[in-house]
């Protein structure tokens, strides 16, 4: 796949309220993001490739496993699995923990906000979410992207032999590299997006 000239980051939005899903989808689309909305934490985990059961549910198409998620924005108060529970599951997963997570809540509860930030959430948005809040997402996405590109560069520069498939390389990397470099994603193919201002990573064109 050729490197795309334009970036369109993909945000996964999780909210049990249909109205709020409509809103967040519009907010994100207006801000040029590609959006997938789901109504529960468990559906979000399905989309992210972290299912409890091994069988693929018919509502989750296989395409979605190939689409990289660049940021997750989730409501806090949801039945069964709260946004906090979802955040924890994501941060506990070696394949997902580098995806930035933003929490939304209609209630301003400092202890709740603190707990989420402690658990690794990047930001906490008070509902109703505003268009101006959308501007705060990009830095977190870019940070995650930079980390990913940096790791890929390290992979390229290392002397590890083997197939060119990323998943195998990453598994090897997990074994060999030092702790601070060990945050790798094993389930996603790098997509064709490029951060506009980075021009020298020619290794990107070698990924199919």
């Amino acid at each position: 796949m050729a490197v795309a000239a334009e970036t369109q980051f993909h945000v996964l939005a999780v909210d049990d309220s249909r109205l709020d899903r409509m809103l967040i989808e519009r907010l994100l689309k207006t801000s040029s993001y590609q959006v997938t909305t789901v109504d529960s934490g468990s559906k979000a985990l399905q989309i992210l490739g972290l299912q409890d059961d091994q069988t693929n549910s018919p509502s989750v198409s296989s395409d979605q496993h190939d689409t990289e998620v660049n940021l997750i924005i989730t409501d806090y108060c949801m039945p069964e699995m709260t946004g906090y529970d979802l955040l924890k599951k994501i941060k506990e997963s070696s394949s997902l923990k580098d995806i930035p997570v933003v929490i939304m809540s209609s209630e301003n509860v400092p202890s709740r906000i603190h707990r989420c930030l402690e658990e690794g959430a990047e930001e906490f948005f008070l509902k109703p979410v505003q268009l101006s809040d959308m501007n705060r997402l990009k830095p977190h996405i870019l940070k995650g992207k930079y980390k990913e590109l940096h790791q890929q560069q390290v992979l390229q520069n290392s002397s590890i032999t083997g197939s060119n498939h990323n998943s195998n390389k990453r598994k090897a990397m997990d074994d060999e590299i030092s702790p601070e470099m060990s945050k790798t994603k094993t389930h996603k193919q790098p997509d064709s997006t490029v951060i506009p201002y980075i021009t020298s990573f020619s290794f990107l064109t070698s990924f199919e």
């Binding site: 309220s17 249909r18 109205l19 709020d20 409509m22 809103l23 519009r26 907010l27 689309k29 207006t30 108060c77 209609s106 509902k127 109703p128 505003q130 268009l131």
Partner: protein
Amino acid sequence: MLGLGAARLEADMNRLMALLFHQGVLDEQFMQLQQLQDESSPNFVSEVISIYFRESEKLLKNLRSLLADRECTDYTKIGIHLNQLMGSSSSIGAKRVRTVCLAFRAASEHSNWSGCLRLLEVLEHEYCYLKTKLHELFQMEQHRVMAAGARYHPALS
């Protein structure tokens, strides 16, 4: 002549909006909704409001039946319903409805049945007023578009 009708309707709409803001029925969030409507999503506001009406009416009906029997009132369920109504009201800028929900929730947390019943009446009244006014606004907008239609029709410009 048609242009004048459209201008008059627009002035009426602005006056109604100003009144609703002044009364605290609507807040800034309602304006945010307008900002999200554009050519790619031309019916966004009416779609969102329609969903709000549908969901709110379901919630209000449930609240009525939850309070039907003083002896077996499930105050936790009432709280859950109110949180939903509060959330969606806040999302569309329905400030007064949200405020009543807050008071209602406090009464339910104290298992205050008669308080809850009283607040449900207030809530139903506030919701009714909001719905009526929003319908008026949407009707005015439709008429304004029609009146402005002859003037702004692409084929005629």
